[in-house]
Amino acid sequence: MRSRKPRAVAAALAATLGLVLTACGSGSTNQLGSGGQDSFQAPVAENPSFEPGTTMAKLSKQGSITVGTKFDQPLFGLKGLDGTMQGFDIEIARIIAGQLGIPADKINWVKTPSKSREAYIEQDRVDMVVATYTINDKRAQRVSFAGPYYNAGQDLMVKKDNTEITGPESLRKTGAKVCSARGSTPSEEIKKYIDPANLVLFDVYSKCADALRTGQVDAVTTDNVILLGLVNESGGKFKLVGKPFTEEPYGVGITKGDTEFCQFIHQSLTKAAQNGTYQKAWEATAGKVSEENPKLPELNTCS
């Protein structure tokens, strides 16, 4: 289904090489290639010390961490057929784990679909969730968010040769039919731009992609992150319009009120942004399809 293009392999190799050159003193013990071509090596801190009683001290001491993520989101959180984890969310989790002194192979990945993310955190079934997890007030009542580590946004995906649709404002005048997922936030948002009669809803985006391919709809809309995955799978048939019209700040979900852990994640992210690891992580994953070159967004205050 997901064909490796030579260009992608080259990019991955370049990223890996770049990392090897820059990540001096990281003391990585990971064997190259274990995570597939996508995987670059997040630096792992040696014997970091934390204040006793904190989440960091506990995790660091036990030498492993349980991370909730998506298993089905290409470029962000995807479990490959060979069982390896790939994607930007995965790399963000590895960066944080690395700062706790936990190598990539000591991370336990748990599948957390959108519906169950809060519950998994509340029930302590995961230590953190990095799963295209949009920070919002409702969710913040049940969990705390570190980050955001990336600002996603709702965008449009069209056929490669479509020049009429240039952004959400162009939808109404072209009478375009737009597809989205039933019950999703983007499907509500797009109603501001089109007649309800032109909104087509399916349970999954792959059906929207099929409808776009067969000409049943003219555009597919949701977070650019999800669209990127679809563009990646389309074999060059689709493209992103590239004008996000909402802000979906992705955060790392942790236990409600664990301020110390939140601050630690912020430090880890900042460090990764400063030493280039953040950019490398992007380039090795979503950057292979996206033309965007994101910077670490301004972080929220931990509370």
């Binding site: 087509v200 099929d210 409808a211 000409g215």
Partner: protein, 216 residues
């Protein structure tokens, strides 16, 4: 339960969409089902074969597969249309097989002497069926036909999943996943919506049944 009262207009729109799907599908299914039942009791072998194949295909295919074919198969073959039309036709095709069998069982319940007498008077096959057999079959057809129609109303929830949206069930999905409402009260509202359609439909059938019974 404030979810239901707060979103009454959403529920109402859902009810209207579901009703529209059911009305169009129901009428088309009745028409197709009656034609196919006529084929199945026809003296002409090719027509009987058409009727039998129709029932075999649509009665034995999961509705989901029929709808999948309509929504994704037809566009693949270059046939584009709105999902509402695709879904409504798909549901009608599927339901028509059951309508056909309900009507056929009703036809079989009419004593064969009635058709023989009609043919002896010189009525053709179509006249015999429409003037003599079907009017008498109606009475025994109403109860099973009612079950078929009520099943169809409930099946319309599946149509909503094939790009149609806006029906009762989709409204429920929307409230739970996009607006994060608790599932139970939302679904109770959805269920009430279906009951608003199905219970009067059942009562109506009862009235029709009594009316037809008196006319005999």
């Amino acid at each position: 339960m404030h979810v239901i009262t707060d979103n009454l207009s959403l529920y109402r729109d859902g009810l209207v969409t579901t009703l529209r799907i059911c009305l169009y599908s129901g009428l088309l299914a009745l028409l197709l089902g009656t034609i196919m039942a006529a084929c199945r009791v026809s003296p002409l072998t090719p027509l009987r074969a058409v009727g039998t194949s129709w029932v075999t295909v649509f009665r034995n295919s999961p509705l989901l597969v029929v709808l999948f074919f309509m929504a994704f198969g037809l566009p693949e073959l270059g046939i584009n249309g709105t999902y509402f039309v695709f879904g409504t036709i798909g549901l009608a095709l599927y339901t028509s097989a059951f309508v056909c069998e309900a009507i056929r069982s009703g036809i079989n319940a009419v004593p064969p002497g009635q058709a023989e007498a009609a043919r002896s008077v010189g009525l053709g096959f179509g006249q015999t069926l429409s003037l003599i057999v079907l009017p008498q079959a109606v009475r025994s057809v109403i109860p099973p036909l009612g079950s078929v129609m009520i099943a169809m109303i409930k099946n319309s929830a599946i149509v909503g999943a094939f790009g149609v949206g806006g029906d009762l069930f989709s409204v429920g999905e929307n409230l739970t996943s996009a607006q994060g409402e608790a599932a139970l009260p939302v679904l109770i509202g959805v269920m009430l919506g279906y009951l608003i359609i199905t219970i009067p439909a059942g009562l109506l059938l009862g009235i029709v049944e009594r009316k037809v019974a008196i006319a005999r």
